[in-house]
Symmetry: C2
Protein backbone atom coordinates (compact mmCIF):
# COMPACT_ATOMS: atom_id res chain seq x y z
CA UNK A 1 0.00 0.00 0.00
CA UNK A 2 1.29 3.44 -0.90
CA UNK A 3 2.17 5.76 1.93
CA UNK A 4 -0.99 7.81 2.62
CA UNK A 5 -0.81 11.58 2.57
CA UNK A 6 -2.07 13.01 5.86
CA UNK A 7 -3.09 16.66 6.31
CA UNK A 8 -3.07 17.91 9.89
CA UNK A 9 -4.91 21.08 10.86
CA UNK A 10 -5.89 22.54 14.19
CA UNK A 11 -5.63 26.22 14.92
CA UNK A 12 -3.25 26.89 17.82
CA UNK A 13 -2.05 23.28 17.93
CA UNK A 14 0.49 23.33 15.13
CA UNK A 15 2.88 21.12 17.09
CA UNK A 16 0.65 18.06 16.64
CA UNK A 17 2.35 17.35 13.30
CA UNK A 18 5.76 17.22 14.98
CA UNK A 19 4.36 14.99 17.73
CA UNK A 20 3.12 12.59 15.07
CA UNK A 21 6.60 12.49 13.49
CA UNK A 22 8.16 11.80 16.88
CA UNK A 23 5.69 8.94 17.36
CA UNK A 24 6.78 7.53 13.96
CA UNK A 25 3.31 7.88 12.53
CA UNK A 26 3.29 6.11 9.16
CA UNK A 27 2.32 8.29 6.19
CA UNK A 28 3.41 11.57 4.69
CA UNK A 29 2.48 14.20 7.23
CA UNK A 30 1.71 17.74 6.10
CA UNK A 31 0.82 20.35 8.69
CA UNK A 32 -1.44 23.16 7.52
CA UNK A 33 -0.73 26.17 9.72
CA UNK A 34 -3.57 28.30 8.42
CA UNK A 35 -6.87 27.72 6.67
CA UNK A 36 -5.29 29.13 3.50
CA UNK A 37 -2.56 26.52 3.69
CA UNK A 38 -5.23 23.89 4.32
CA UNK A 39 -7.15 25.00 1.23
CA UNK A 40 -4.02 24.63 -0.85
CA UNK A 41 -3.11 21.09 0.23
CA UNK A 42 -6.56 19.57 0.74
CA UNK A 43 -6.98 18.26 -2.85
CA UNK A 44 -4.13 15.79 -2.32
CA UNK A 45 -5.21 14.55 1.13
CA UNK A 46 -6.04 10.87 1.59
CA UNK A 47 -6.44 11.37 5.34
CA UNK A 48 -7.31 14.51 7.33
CA UNK A 49 -6.63 14.81 11.04
CA UNK A 50 -8.35 18.01 12.10
CA UNK A 51 -10.59 20.11 14.27
CA UNK A 52 -13.11 22.85 13.48
CA UNK A 53 -12.47 23.05 9.76
CA UNK A 54 -15.08 25.17 7.93
CA UNK A 55 -17.35 22.71 6.05
CA UNK A 56 -16.92 24.28 2.59
CA UNK A 57 -13.16 23.70 2.69
CA UNK A 58 -13.81 20.01 2.09
CA UNK A 59 -15.31 20.72 -1.32
CA UNK A 60 -12.08 20.01 -3.15
CA UNK A 61 -11.01 17.02 -1.02
CA UNK A 62 -11.39 14.66 -3.95
CA UNK A 63 -8.81 12.12 -2.72
CA UNK A 64 -10.14 12.03 0.83
CA UNK A 65 -10.94 8.60 2.24
CA UNK A 66 -10.93 9.21 5.98
CA UNK A 67 -11.21 12.13 8.38
CA UNK A 68 -10.22 11.71 12.02
CA UNK A 69 -11.69 14.38 14.29
CA UNK A 70 -9.50 15.59 17.15
CA UNK A 71 -12.56 15.69 19.42
CA UNK A 72 -15.57 13.64 20.50
CA UNK A 73 -18.28 15.73 18.82
CA UNK A 74 -18.60 15.35 15.04
CA UNK A 75 -21.95 16.99 14.31
CA UNK A 76 -20.24 19.44 11.92
CA UNK A 77 -18.74 16.57 9.92
CA UNK A 78 -21.85 14.38 9.89
CA UNK A 79 -23.93 17.24 8.51
CA UNK A 80 -21.29 18.39 6.00
CA UNK A 81 -22.67 18.06 2.44
CA UNK A 82 -19.13 18.07 1.01
CA UNK A 83 -18.22 14.79 2.71
CA UNK A 84 -19.60 11.96 0.56
CA UNK A 85 -20.76 8.86 2.42
CA UNK A 86 -17.71 6.97 1.15
CA UNK A 87 -15.47 9.08 3.38
CA UNK A 88 -14.98 7.46 6.79
CA UNK A 89 -15.43 9.71 9.81
CA UNK A 90 -13.85 8.76 13.14
CA UNK A 91 -13.87 10.60 16.43
CA UNK A 92 -12.00 10.35 19.74
CA UNK A 93 -13.78 8.04 22.15
CA UNK A 94 -12.81 6.67 25.55
CA UNK A 95 -10.44 9.59 26.16
CA UNK A 96 -12.82 12.11 27.61
CA UNK A 97 -14.40 10.12 30.43
CA UNK A 98 -11.92 10.80 33.23
CA UNK A 99 -11.28 14.53 32.61
CA UNK A 100 -14.97 15.32 32.04
CA UNK A 101 -15.93 13.36 35.16
CA UNK A 102 -13.32 15.34 37.11
CA UNK A 103 -14.87 18.57 35.88
CA UNK A 104 -18.40 17.45 36.80
CA UNK A 105 -17.36 16.39 40.31
CA UNK A 106 -15.27 19.54 40.78
CA UNK A 107 -18.44 21.56 40.18
CA UNK A 108 -20.76 19.24 42.14
CA UNK A 109 -18.48 19.29 45.17
CA UNK A 110 -17.89 23.05 44.89
CA UNK A 111 -21.67 23.40 44.91
CA UNK A 112 -22.47 21.26 47.95
CA UNK A 113 -19.44 22.48 49.90
CA UNK A 114 -20.11 26.13 48.96
CA UNK A 115 -16.54 26.83 47.87
CA UNK A 116 -17.49 30.23 46.44
CA UNK A 117 -18.74 31.36 49.85
CA UNK A 118 -15.59 29.94 51.45
CA UNK A 119 -13.39 31.98 49.09
CA UNK A 120 -15.37 35.14 49.79
CA UNK A 121 -15.05 34.63 53.55
CA UNK A 122 -11.30 34.12 53.19
CA UNK A 123 -11.01 37.34 51.21
CA UNK A 124 -12.85 39.10 54.04
CA UNK A 125 -10.73 37.37 56.75
CA UNK A 126 -14.04 36.09 58.08
CA UNK A 127 -14.12 32.96 60.29
CA UNK A 128 -17.75 31.96 60.04
CA UNK A 129 -18.58 28.25 60.12
CA UNK A 130 -21.63 27.34 58.04
CA UNK A 131 -23.64 24.24 57.24
CA UNK A 132 -22.66 22.37 54.08
CA UNK A 133 -24.39 19.74 52.00
CA UNK A 134 -23.24 16.33 50.85
CA UNK A 135 -23.40 14.22 47.71
CA UNK A 136 -24.28 11.12 49.77
CA UNK A 137 -27.67 9.67 48.88
CA UNK A 138 -28.28 12.52 46.46
CA UNK A 139 -29.82 11.51 43.16
CA UNK A 140 -27.73 12.05 40.03
CA UNK A 141 -29.19 11.41 36.60
CA UNK A 142 -26.79 10.82 33.73
CA UNK A 143 -28.17 11.36 30.24
CA UNK A 144 -25.96 9.35 27.90
CA UNK A 145 -24.16 6.24 29.12
CA UNK A 146 -21.21 6.11 26.72
CA UNK A 147 -17.60 6.30 27.88
CA UNK A 148 -18.20 9.65 29.61
CA UNK A 149 -21.39 8.49 31.31
CA UNK A 150 -19.70 5.30 32.49
CA UNK A 151 -16.93 7.26 34.14
CA UNK A 152 -19.49 9.51 35.83
CA UNK A 153 -21.29 6.44 37.19
CA UNK A 154 -18.03 5.14 38.63
CA UNK A 155 -17.25 8.40 40.41
CA UNK A 156 -20.86 8.80 41.63
CA UNK A 157 -20.61 5.36 43.26
CA UNK A 158 -17.51 6.44 45.19
CA UNK A 159 -19.58 9.33 46.59
CA UNK A 160 -22.47 7.00 47.53
CA UNK A 161 -24.93 8.73 45.22
CA UNK A 162 -28.11 7.19 43.85
CA UNK A 163 -27.52 6.88 40.10
CA UNK A 164 -30.19 7.13 37.41
CA UNK A 165 -29.29 6.74 33.76
CA UNK A 166 -30.95 7.54 30.44
CA UNK A 167 -29.78 6.03 27.19
CA UNK A 168 -31.35 5.08 23.84
CA UNK A 169 -31.28 1.47 25.03
CA UNK A 170 -31.77 1.36 28.84
CA UNK A 171 -28.81 -0.08 30.77
CA UNK A 172 -30.25 -1.40 34.08
CA UNK A 173 -27.02 -3.29 34.84
CA UNK A 174 -25.10 0.00 35.02
CA UNK A 175 -27.34 2.23 37.15
CA UNK A 176 -29.83 2.08 40.00
CA UNK A 177 -32.69 3.00 37.67
CA UNK A 178 -32.54 2.92 33.89
CA UNK A 179 -34.65 4.95 31.46
CA UNK A 180 -35.00 4.98 27.69
CA UNK A 181 -34.87 8.16 25.62
CA UNK A 182 -38.70 8.06 25.53
CA UNK A 183 -38.80 8.51 29.32
CA UNK A 184 -37.28 11.93 29.93
CA UNK A 185 -40.04 13.16 32.28
CA UNK A 186 -39.97 10.25 34.78
CA UNK A 187 -36.16 10.30 34.48
CA UNK A 188 -35.73 13.92 35.59
CA UNK A 189 -38.64 14.27 38.06
CA UNK A 190 -36.81 13.30 41.24
CA UNK A 191 -33.22 14.24 40.33
CA UNK A 192 -30.99 16.51 42.40
CA UNK A 193 -28.49 16.69 39.52
CA UNK A 194 -28.98 16.15 35.81
CA UNK A 195 -25.74 15.65 33.87
CA UNK A 196 -25.97 15.80 30.09
CA UNK A 197 -23.25 13.96 28.15
CA UNK A 198 -25.26 13.58 24.95
CA UNK A 199 -24.08 14.37 21.42
CA UNK A 200 -26.34 16.57 19.32
CA UNK A 201 -28.38 14.56 16.84
CA UNK A 202 -31.81 14.96 15.30
CA UNK A 203 -33.19 13.14 18.34
CA UNK A 204 -31.42 15.11 21.05
CA UNK A 205 -31.52 18.65 19.68
CA UNK A 206 -33.42 20.80 22.16
CA UNK A 207 -34.65 17.74 24.07
CA UNK A 208 -34.04 19.50 27.38
CA UNK A 209 -36.71 22.14 26.77
CA UNK A 210 -39.69 23.65 28.51
CA UNK A 211 -41.39 20.33 29.28
CA UNK A 212 -38.38 18.58 30.77
CA UNK A 213 -37.33 21.66 32.73
CA UNK A 214 -40.83 22.05 34.17
CA UNK A 215 -40.72 18.45 35.41
CA UNK A 216 -37.55 19.04 37.44
CA UNK A 217 -37.30 19.84 41.15
CA UNK A 218 -36.76 23.53 42.04
CA UNK A 219 -33.55 22.56 43.93
CA UNK A 220 -32.13 20.72 40.93
CA UNK A 221 -28.92 21.59 39.11
CA UNK A 222 -28.26 20.90 35.41
CA UNK A 223 -24.74 20.21 34.19
CA UNK A 224 -24.09 20.17 30.46
CA UNK A 225 -20.83 18.67 29.23
CA UNK A 226 -22.30 17.25 26.01
CA UNK A 227 -23.37 19.72 23.35
CA UNK A 228 -25.02 23.09 23.85
CA UNK A 229 -27.80 22.36 21.36
CA UNK A 230 -29.15 19.50 23.49
CA UNK A 231 -30.61 22.19 25.78
CA UNK A 232 -33.13 24.70 24.51
CA UNK A 233 -31.09 27.64 25.78
CA UNK A 234 -33.99 30.09 25.83
CA UNK A 235 -36.12 27.67 27.85
CA UNK A 236 -33.20 27.19 30.23
CA UNK A 237 -32.84 30.91 30.82
CA UNK A 238 -36.60 31.09 31.52
CA UNK A 239 -36.42 28.15 33.95
CA UNK A 240 -33.49 29.73 35.79
CA UNK A 241 -35.09 33.17 35.89
CA UNK A 242 -38.41 31.89 37.24
CA UNK A 243 -36.80 29.53 39.74
CA UNK A 244 -38.05 26.32 38.10
CA UNK A 245 -34.55 24.94 38.67
CA UNK A 246 -31.83 26.17 41.01
CA UNK A 247 -28.81 26.37 38.76
CA UNK A 248 -26.78 25.24 35.77
CA UNK A 249 -23.14 24.43 35.14
CA UNK A 250 -22.55 24.97 31.44
CA UNK A 251 -19.43 24.04 29.52
CA UNK A 252 -21.13 24.05 26.10
CA UNK A 253 -23.51 26.48 24.41
CA UNK A 254 -25.65 26.95 21.33
CA UNK A 255 -23.15 29.59 20.19
CA UNK A 256 -19.48 29.35 21.15
CA UNK A 257 -17.78 31.46 22.35
CA UNK A 258 -20.74 32.54 24.45
CA UNK A 259 -21.25 36.20 23.40
CA UNK A 260 -19.90 38.54 26.08
CA UNK A 261 -23.26 40.30 26.44
CA UNK A 262 -25.23 37.07 26.97
CA UNK A 263 -27.55 36.97 29.99
CA UNK A 264 -26.16 33.57 31.11
CA UNK A 265 -22.87 35.12 32.27
CA UNK A 266 -24.58 36.93 35.15
CA UNK A 267 -27.58 34.75 35.97
CA UNK A 268 -27.50 33.65 39.65
CA UNK A 269 -26.76 29.96 40.04
CA UNK A 270 -25.08 29.70 36.64
CA UNK A 271 -21.45 28.62 36.25
CA UNK A 272 -19.83 29.18 32.87
CA UNK A 273 -16.86 27.25 31.51
CA UNK A 274 -15.36 27.85 28.02
CA UNK A 275 -15.74 24.32 26.63
CA UNK A 276 -12.80 22.91 28.59
CA UNK A 277 -14.48 20.06 30.49
CA UNK A 278 -12.85 17.57 28.13
CA UNK A 279 -9.44 18.88 27.18
CA UNK A 280 -8.12 17.45 23.96
CA UNK A 281 -4.52 17.06 24.99
CA UNK A 282 -2.26 17.02 21.92
CA UNK A 283 -0.33 13.91 22.92
CA UNK A 284 -3.56 12.04 23.71
CA UNK A 285 -5.19 12.62 20.37
CA UNK A 286 -1.92 12.13 18.49
CA UNK A 287 -1.44 8.71 20.07
CA UNK A 288 -5.03 7.80 19.28
CA UNK A 289 -4.57 8.83 15.67
CA UNK A 290 -1.26 6.96 15.20
CA UNK A 291 -2.94 3.75 16.37
CA UNK A 292 -5.77 4.36 13.93
CA UNK A 293 -3.38 5.05 11.01
CA UNK A 294 -1.69 1.73 11.64
CA UNK A 295 -5.11 0.04 11.62
CA UNK A 296 -6.04 1.92 8.44
CA UNK A 297 -2.91 0.67 6.70
CA UNK A 298 -3.60 -2.88 7.93
CA UNK A 299 -7.25 -2.66 6.80
CA UNK A 300 -8.45 -3.17 10.36
CA UNK A 301 -11.60 -1.46 11.69
CA UNK A 302 -10.86 2.04 13.00
CA UNK A 303 -11.47 3.15 16.56
CA UNK A 304 -14.23 5.75 17.00
CA UNK A 305 -15.96 4.95 13.72
CA UNK A 306 -18.96 7.24 13.27
CA UNK A 307 -22.34 5.94 12.15
CA UNK A 308 -23.66 8.83 10.10
CA UNK A 309 -27.28 7.75 10.53
CA UNK A 310 -26.94 7.72 14.31
CA UNK A 311 -24.87 10.90 14.19
CA UNK A 312 -21.96 9.86 16.43
CA UNK B 1 -30.28 -0.25 86.43
CA UNK B 2 -31.37 3.21 87.47
CA UNK B 3 -32.09 5.70 84.75
CA UNK B 4 -28.83 7.60 84.18
CA UNK B 5 -28.84 11.40 84.33
CA UNK B 6 -27.46 12.86 81.13
CA UNK B 7 -26.27 16.46 80.80
CA UNK B 8 -26.18 17.83 77.27
CA UNK B 9 -24.18 20.94 76.42
CA UNK B 10 -23.10 22.47 73.16
CA UNK B 11 -23.17 26.18 72.55
CA UNK B 12 -25.44 27.07 69.64
CA UNK B 13 -26.85 23.54 69.40
CA UNK B 14 -29.41 23.60 72.18
CA UNK B 15 -31.88 21.58 70.11
CA UNK B 16 -29.81 18.40 70.48
CA UNK B 17 -31.58 17.66 73.79
CA UNK B 18 -34.96 17.74 72.05
CA UNK B 19 -33.65 15.55 69.24
CA UNK B 20 -32.55 13.00 71.84
CA UNK B 21 -36.04 13.02 73.35
CA UNK B 22 -37.60 12.53 69.92
CA UNK B 23 -35.28 9.57 69.38
CA UNK B 24 -36.48 8.11 72.71
CA UNK B 25 -33.02 8.22 74.20
CA UNK B 26 -33.13 6.37 77.51
CA UNK B 27 -32.06 8.36 80.57
CA UNK B 28 -33.03 11.64 82.18
CA UNK B 29 -31.93 14.31 79.75
CA UNK B 30 -31.00 17.77 81.00
CA UNK B 31 -29.97 20.41 78.50
CA UNK B 32 -27.61 23.09 79.79
CA UNK B 33 -28.13 26.19 77.70
CA UNK B 34 -25.21 28.15 79.09
CA UNK B 35 -21.96 27.35 80.85
CA UNK B 36 -23.51 28.72 84.05
CA UNK B 37 -26.35 26.25 83.75
CA UNK B 38 -23.81 23.51 83.05
CA UNK B 39 -21.86 24.42 86.18
CA UNK B 40 -25.04 24.13 88.23
CA UNK B 41 -26.09 20.68 87.03
CA UNK B 42 -22.72 19.01 86.50
CA UNK B 43 -22.41 17.58 90.03
CA UNK B 44 -25.36 15.25 89.38
CA UNK B 45 -24.30 14.09 85.91
CA UNK B 46 -23.66 10.40 85.34
CA UNK B 47 -23.18 11.00 81.62
CA UNK B 48 -22.15 14.14 79.74
CA UNK B 49 -22.78 14.60 76.04
CA UNK B 50 -20.88 17.73 75.11
CA UNK B 51 -18.52 19.82 73.04
CA UNK B 52 -15.87 22.41 73.93
CA UNK B 53 -16.55 22.51 77.65
CA UNK B 54 -13.87 24.46 79.57
CA UNK B 55 -11.74 21.84 81.40
CA UNK B 56 -12.15 23.30 84.91
CA UNK B 57 -15.92 22.90 84.75
CA UNK B 58 -15.44 19.14 85.23
CA UNK B 59 -13.95 19.69 88.69
CA UNK B 60 -17.24 19.05 90.44
CA UNK B 61 -18.42 16.21 88.22
CA UNK B 62 -18.20 13.73 91.07
CA UNK B 63 -20.88 11.35 89.72
CA UNK B 64 -19.50 11.34 86.18
CA UNK B 65 -18.87 7.92 84.66
CA UNK B 66 -18.80 8.66 80.95
CA UNK B 67 -18.35 11.64 78.65
CA UNK B 68 -19.32 11.38 74.99
CA UNK B 69 -17.70 14.06 72.84
CA UNK B 70 -19.78 15.48 69.99
CA UNK B 71 -16.70 15.50 67.75
CA UNK B 72 -13.79 13.33 66.64
CA UNK B 73 -10.98 15.22 68.38
CA UNK B 74 -10.72 14.73 72.16
CA UNK B 75 -7.31 16.19 72.98
CA UNK B 76 -8.93 18.64 75.44
CA UNK B 77 -10.58 15.77 77.34
CA UNK B 78 -7.58 13.43 77.31
CA UNK B 79 -5.39 16.15 78.81
CA UNK B 80 -7.99 17.34 81.34
CA UNK B 81 -6.68 16.83 84.92
CA UNK B 82 -10.24 16.93 86.29
CA UNK B 83 -11.28 13.77 84.48
CA UNK B 84 -10.04 10.80 86.54
CA UNK B 85 -9.02 7.70 84.58
CA UNK B 86 -12.17 5.92 85.75
CA UNK B 87 -14.27 8.23 83.57
CA UNK B 88 -14.83 6.73 80.14
CA UNK B 89 -14.22 9.06 77.19
CA UNK B 90 -15.82 8.30 73.82
CA UNK B 91 -15.67 10.24 70.58
CA UNK B 92 -17.52 10.19 67.27
CA UNK B 93 -15.81 7.84 64.82
CA UNK B 94 -16.84 6.56 61.40
CA UNK B 95 -19.07 9.59 60.86
CA UNK B 96 -16.53 12.00 59.51
CA UNK B 97 -15.03 9.99 56.69
CA UNK B 98 -17.48 10.80 53.89
CA UNK B 99 -17.95 14.54 54.56
CA UNK B 100 -14.24 15.16 55.16
CA UNK B 101 -13.34 13.21 52.03
CA UNK B 102 -15.87 15.32 50.09
CA UNK B 103 -14.17 18.47 51.37
CA UNK B 104 -10.70 17.19 50.44
CA UNK B 105 -11.79 16.23 46.92
CA UNK B 106 -13.73 19.47 46.48
CA UNK B 107 -10.47 21.33 47.12
CA UNK B 108 -8.25 18.94 45.12
CA UNK B 109 -10.52 19.14 42.08
CA UNK B 110 -10.95 22.92 42.42
CA UNK B 111 -7.15 23.09 42.41
CA UNK B 112 -6.45 20.95 39.33
CA UNK B 113 -9.44 22.34 37.41
CA UNK B 114 -8.59 25.94 38.39
CA UNK B 115 -12.13 26.79 39.50
CA UNK B 116 -11.01 30.13 40.97
CA UNK B 117 -9.73 31.23 37.57
CA UNK B 118 -12.95 29.98 35.96
CA UNK B 119 -15.05 32.08 38.35
CA UNK B 120 -12.91 35.15 37.69
CA UNK B 121 -13.27 34.71 33.93
CA UNK B 122 -17.03 34.37 34.29
CA UNK B 123 -17.17 37.57 36.31
CA UNK B 124 -15.26 39.28 33.50
CA UNK B 125 -17.45 37.68 30.78
CA UNK B 126 -14.21 36.28 29.41
CA UNK B 127 -14.29 33.19 27.17
CA UNK B 128 -10.71 32.02 27.39
CA UNK B 129 -10.05 28.26 27.26
CA UNK B 130 -7.03 27.21 29.32
CA UNK B 131 -5.16 24.00 30.08
CA UNK B 132 -6.21 22.15 33.21
CA UNK B 133 -4.60 19.41 35.27
CA UNK B 134 -5.90 16.05 36.38
CA UNK B 135 -5.82 13.89 39.49
CA UNK B 136 -5.09 10.79 37.38
CA UNK B 137 -1.77 9.17 38.24
CA UNK B 138 -1.04 11.97 40.71
CA UNK B 139 0.44 10.85 44.01
CA UNK B 140 -1.61 11.44 47.14
CA UNK B 141 -0.18 10.68 50.58
CA UNK B 142 -2.60 10.15 53.43
CA UNK B 143 -1.22 10.57 56.94
CA UNK B 144 -3.51 8.64 59.24
CA UNK B 145 -5.46 5.64 57.97
CA UNK B 146 -8.41 5.59 60.36
CA UNK B 147 -12.01 5.95 59.20
CA UNK B 148 -11.27 9.31 57.51
CA UNK B 149 -8.11 8.03 55.82
CA UNK B 150 -9.95 4.94 54.57
CA UNK B 151 -12.63 7.04 52.95
CA UNK B 152 -9.96 9.20 51.30
CA UNK B 153 -8.29 6.07 49.90
CA UNK B 154 -11.62 4.93 48.43
CA UNK B 155 -12.25 8.26 46.70
CA UNK B 156 -8.62 8.51 45.49
CA UNK B 157 -9.02 5.10 43.81
CA UNK B 158 -12.06 6.35 41.90
CA UNK B 159 -9.88 9.16 40.53
CA UNK B 160 -7.08 6.73 39.57
CA UNK B 161 -4.55 8.31 41.90
CA UNK B 162 -1.44 6.62 43.26
CA UNK B 163 -2.05 6.28 47.01
CA UNK B 164 0.63 6.36 49.70
CA UNK B 165 -0.29 5.97 53.35
CA UNK B 166 1.40 6.64 56.68
CA UNK B 167 0.15 5.12 59.92
CA UNK B 168 1.66 4.07 63.25
CA UNK B 169 1.44 0.48 62.01
CA UNK B 170 1.94 0.42 58.19
CA UNK B 171 -1.08 -0.87 56.23
CA UNK B 172 0.31 -2.19 52.92
CA UNK B 173 -2.99 -3.94 52.11
CA UNK B 174 -4.77 -0.58 51.98
CA UNK B 175 -2.45 1.60 49.89
CA UNK B 176 0.05 1.38 47.05
CA UNK B 177 2.94 2.13 49.38
CA UNK B 178 2.78 2.01 53.16
CA UNK B 179 4.97 3.91 55.63
CA UNK B 180 5.30 3.87 59.40
CA UNK B 181 5.32 7.01 61.52
CA UNK B 182 9.13 6.75 61.60
CA UNK B 183 9.25 7.25 57.82
CA UNK B 184 7.90 10.75 57.26
CA UNK B 185 10.71 11.87 54.94
CA UNK B 186 10.53 9.00 52.40
CA UNK B 187 6.73 9.22 52.68
CA UNK B 188 6.45 12.88 51.62
CA UNK B 189 9.38 13.13 49.17
CA UNK B 190 7.51 12.28 45.97
CA UNK B 191 3.98 13.38 46.89
CA UNK B 192 1.86 15.77 44.85
CA UNK B 193 -0.66 16.02 47.71
CA UNK B 194 -0.19 15.42 51.42
CA UNK B 195 -3.44 15.03 53.36
CA UNK B 196 -3.22 15.10 57.15
CA UNK B 197 -6.03 13.37 59.05
CA UNK B 198 -4.04 12.86 62.25
CA UNK B 199 -5.19 13.66 65.79
CA UNK B 200 -2.84 15.72 67.92
CA UNK B 201 -0.90 13.58 70.38
CA UNK B 202 2.54 13.79 71.94
CA UNK B 203 3.84 11.95 68.86
CA UNK B 204 2.16 14.04 66.19
CA UNK B 205 2.41 17.56 67.62
CA UNK B 206 4.43 19.67 65.16
CA UNK B 207 5.51 16.57 63.22
CA UNK B 208 5.00 18.42 59.93
CA UNK B 209 7.80 20.90 60.58
CA UNK B 210 10.85 22.32 58.84
CA UNK B 211 12.39 18.92 58.02
CA UNK B 212 9.30 17.34 56.53
CA UNK B 213 8.40 20.50 54.60
CA UNK B 214 11.92 20.76 53.17
CA UNK B 215 11.66 17.17 51.89
CA UNK B 216 8.53 17.94 49.86
CA UNK B 217 8.32 18.81 46.16
CA UNK B 218 7.92 22.53 45.33
CA UNK B 219 4.70 21.72 43.41
CA UNK B 220 3.19 19.91 46.39
CA UNK B 221 0.02 20.91 48.21
CA UNK B 222 -0.68 20.19 51.90
CA UNK B 223 -4.23 19.63 53.10
CA UNK B 224 -4.91 19.57 56.84
CA UNK B 225 -8.24 18.20 58.04
CA UNK B 226 -6.82 16.67 61.24
CA UNK B 227 -5.67 19.05 63.93
CA UNK B 228 -3.86 22.36 63.48
CA UNK B 229 -1.14 21.47 65.97
CA UNK B 230 0.11 18.57 63.80
CA UNK B 231 1.69 21.22 61.56
CA UNK B 232 4.32 23.61 62.87
CA UNK B 233 2.42 26.66 61.63
CA UNK B 234 5.42 28.96 61.62
CA UNK B 235 7.46 26.49 59.57
CA UNK B 236 4.51 26.16 57.17
CA UNK B 237 4.33 29.92 56.64
CA UNK B 238 8.09 29.94 55.94
CA UNK B 239 7.79 27.04 53.47
CA UNK B 240 4.94 28.77 51.64
CA UNK B 241 6.70 32.13 51.59
CA UNK B 242 9.96 30.73 50.22
CA UNK B 243 8.23 28.46 47.70
CA UNK B 244 9.34 25.19 49.31
CA UNK B 245 5.80 23.98 48.69
CA UNK B 246 3.13 25.38 46.39
CA UNK B 247 0.12 25.67 48.63
CA UNK B 248 -1.97 24.59 51.59
CA UNK B 249 -5.64 23.93 52.22
CA UNK B 250 -6.22 24.45 55.92
CA UNK B 251 -9.39 23.64 57.81
CA UNK B 252 -7.71 23.52 61.24
CA UNK B 253 -5.22 25.82 62.98
CA UNK B 254 -3.06 26.13 66.05
CA UNK B 255 -5.43 28.89 67.24
CA UNK B 256 -9.12 28.83 66.26
CA UNK B 257 -10.71 31.01 65.10
CA UNK B 258 -7.69 32.00 63.01
CA UNK B 259 -7.03 35.62 64.11
CA UNK B 260 -8.26 38.04 61.46
CA UNK B 261 -4.81 39.66 61.13
CA UNK B 262 -3.00 36.35 60.55
CA UNK B 263 -0.68 36.19 57.53
CA UNK B 264 -2.22 32.86 56.37
CA UNK B 265 -5.43 34.59 55.22
CA UNK B 266 -3.64 36.36 52.37
CA UNK B 267 -0.74 34.06 51.52
CA UNK B 268 -0.86 33.02 47.83
CA UNK B 269 -1.75 29.36 47.40
CA UNK B 270 -3.45 29.13 50.78
CA UNK B 271 -7.13 28.20 51.14
CA UNK B 272 -8.73 28.79 54.54
CA UNK B 273 -11.80 26.98 55.87
CA UNK B 274 -13.28 27.61 59.37
CA UNK B 275 -13.08 24.04 60.71
CA UNK B 276 -16.07 22.79 58.72
CA UNK B 277 -14.51 19.91 56.78
CA UNK B 278 -16.24 17.45 59.08
CA UNK B 279 -19.60 18.91 60.01
CA UNK B 280 -20.98 17.53 63.22
CA UNK B 281 -24.61 17.38 62.17
CA UNK B 282 -26.89 17.38 65.20
CA UNK B 283 -28.94 14.40 64.07
CA UNK B 284 -25.82 12.40 63.25
CA UNK B 285 -24.20 12.80 66.64
CA UNK B 286 -27.51 12.40 68.47
CA UNK B 287 -28.14 9.06 66.75
CA UNK B 288 -24.61 7.96 67.55
CA UNK B 289 -25.06 8.90 71.19
CA UNK B 290 -28.46 7.18 71.55
CA UNK B 291 -26.92 3.93 70.30
CA UNK B 292 -24.10 4.32 72.79
CA UNK B 293 -26.48 5.02 75.70
CA UNK B 294 -28.31 1.80 74.92
CA UNK B 295 -24.98 -0.04 74.93
CA UNK B 296 -24.02 1.68 78.19
CA UNK B 297 -27.23 0.53 79.84
CA UNK B 298 -26.70 -3.00 78.50
CA UNK B 299 -23.05 -3.00 79.68
CA UNK B 300 -21.82 -3.45 76.14
CA UNK B 301 -18.57 -1.84 74.92
CA UNK B 302 -19.13 1.71 73.71
CA UNK B 303 -18.41 2.92 70.19
CA UNK B 304 -15.55 5.40 69.86
CA UNK B 305 -13.89 4.42 73.13
CA UNK B 306 -10.77 6.55 73.66
CA UNK B 307 -7.46 5.06 74.77
CA UNK B 308 -6.04 7.84 76.93
CA UNK B 309 -2.46 6.59 76.51
CA UNK B 310 -2.74 6.70 72.75
CA UNK B 311 -4.66 9.95 72.93
CA UNK B 312 -7.61 9.14 70.62
Amino acid sequence: MACPRIIVYRSGHERIGEILQEMNCPGEIITARTLDEFREVVPSAEIIFGWKIPPHLFRKAHQLRWIQSMGAGVDDLVSNPYLPSTVIITRIVDQFGPPIAEFVFAELLAHVRKLDRLRQQQQDHLWEPFAVGTLRNQRIGIAGLGSIGQELVRKARAFDMVVYGLSSVPKPEMVDKAFSSAEWIPFVESLDYLVITLPVTEKTRGIVGEQVLRAMKPEALIINVGRGEVIDQKALVDALTTGQIAGAVLDVFETEPLPSGHILWDLPGVRISPHIAGPSVDEYVAQYFVTNVQRYINHEPLYGWVDRQRGY
